[in-house]
Symmetry: C2
Subunit: 204 residues, 2 copies
DNA sequence: TCGTAAGTGGAGAACCCCCTCCACTTGGCT
DNA sequence: AGCCAAGTGGAGGGGGTTCTCCACTTACGA
């Protein structure tokens, strides 16, 4: 019900919403490489309509993924109020990696969006995670030499699994995360079962 | 001094070699997306020359990377004769991941080459690694629930770091590998120092 | 009901890619 | 020296992309 939305004619508003939904679907399924024409076709509109609402492909990507990024932000803030900081820490990594494994466009969108994200938001998220890391370290469950930068390391590593079909990617991601969390911690736990990751499976 | 090589005129032979060298350089620097025209230009030849020697881009990629893949094969076989199977295991992962972090085209080339690799070679490599895993497990240094498929997991995860500039990718890869090896083992060691992986650094 | 501003679709411009064709050049044998 | 098979470069065909232009259609207030 923003000004810009209510100023749109009813049919236009509906088209816009459908385009956005389709874009999210296709970006998740096939990554950001999916052509604008494909999005327009599946949404049942012409390309011109699409470009009228989203002047550039990048703007569509940004709009399509702001929701996901907001979820990430929320996940971190939520973890910060968890009384057990180590559990909070694990939850952050597990949830974000799951999101990433589920959505093929996630990482690329994040990278594309990153430069034009208000640095204010970035700083805040980063600060929150730093806080979480400090507490988990102070609690003695997170190893002392863990660096907040390792979050980026985990995210990048996890993004390497995005090529595989979703179910495979999710299973692989869960095992990878389990391995990593285990070495982030001071202790030992059972892993989820091995993933039969032959490359035949990975190549779609 | 193969028949096909010696049948080439001297100048042609030199051009072919230069093209191959340039291709390796550019694939390593910028990934497989680098246009054929760019390779031709840097090698100081026309595109036609390039296509005369390598009828298709894929064939150039295959030729450019067979050396690297042979190295991987050698690394595994060499590890198998190491009297300490755990050290062999670590060496395999470290060396292959280093190769991967150093060369931006590595993973894509591997994936592209994979289907048309003689399954005989694949089987052999896979068998060797399986042997190594069995021995390391039997030795009690590798965790019992490690799966040979986890090698693929490591490789895919490590490939996620390839976007960053080489020095960053290498440092990040080393830390990732250290983390993973630590959770593959039954014990604990110090990590290499954290990598300041802000996304500014990662985006070239 | 009807006028008009808002919205639309599809053709096509501009660009980049892989790869081919062909008139020209050149190495190396005689 | 001279011949010619072998080798060459650059123009351009065919297909893909993002994005624009403009004649047509439609929602909706008066």
């Amino acid at each position: 019900m923003t000004a810009s939305q209510s100023q749109l004619r009813a049919d236009a508003q509906e088209n816009r919403a459908r385009v956005l939904a389709v874009a999210r679907e296709l970006f998740a399924e096939r990554g950001l490489d999916v052509p604008m024409a494909a999005i327009a076709r599946r949404a049942g509109v012409g390309v011109a309509t699409l470009y009228r609402r989203f002047p550039t492909k990048e703007s569509l990507v940004v709009e399509a993924f702001t929701e996901q990024f907001a979820i990430c932000q929320a996940v971190i803030e939520e973890a910060l109020v968890d009384p057990d900081p180590w559990r909070g820490f694990c939850t952050v990594i597990e949830k974000v990696c799951l999101l990433q494994a589920t959505d093929r466009g996630f990482t690329a969108a994040f990278v594309a969006t990153f430069p034009e994200m208000h640095s204010e938001v970035r700083e805040r998220t980063w600060h929150c995670f730093g806080e979480l890391v400090d507490r988990a370290r102070a609690g003695g469950q997170l190893r002392a030499d863990f660096s907040p930068h390792d979050l980026t390391l985990v995210l990048l590593a996890n993004s390497g699994l995005a090529g595989a079909p979703v179910e495979v990617a999710v299973a692989a991601s869960q095992r990878l995360v389990a391995y990593l969390l285990e070495s982030f911690r001071t202790g030992t736990d059972a892993l989820p079962p091995p993933v039969p990751l032959s490359l035949d499976l990975v190549l779609q």
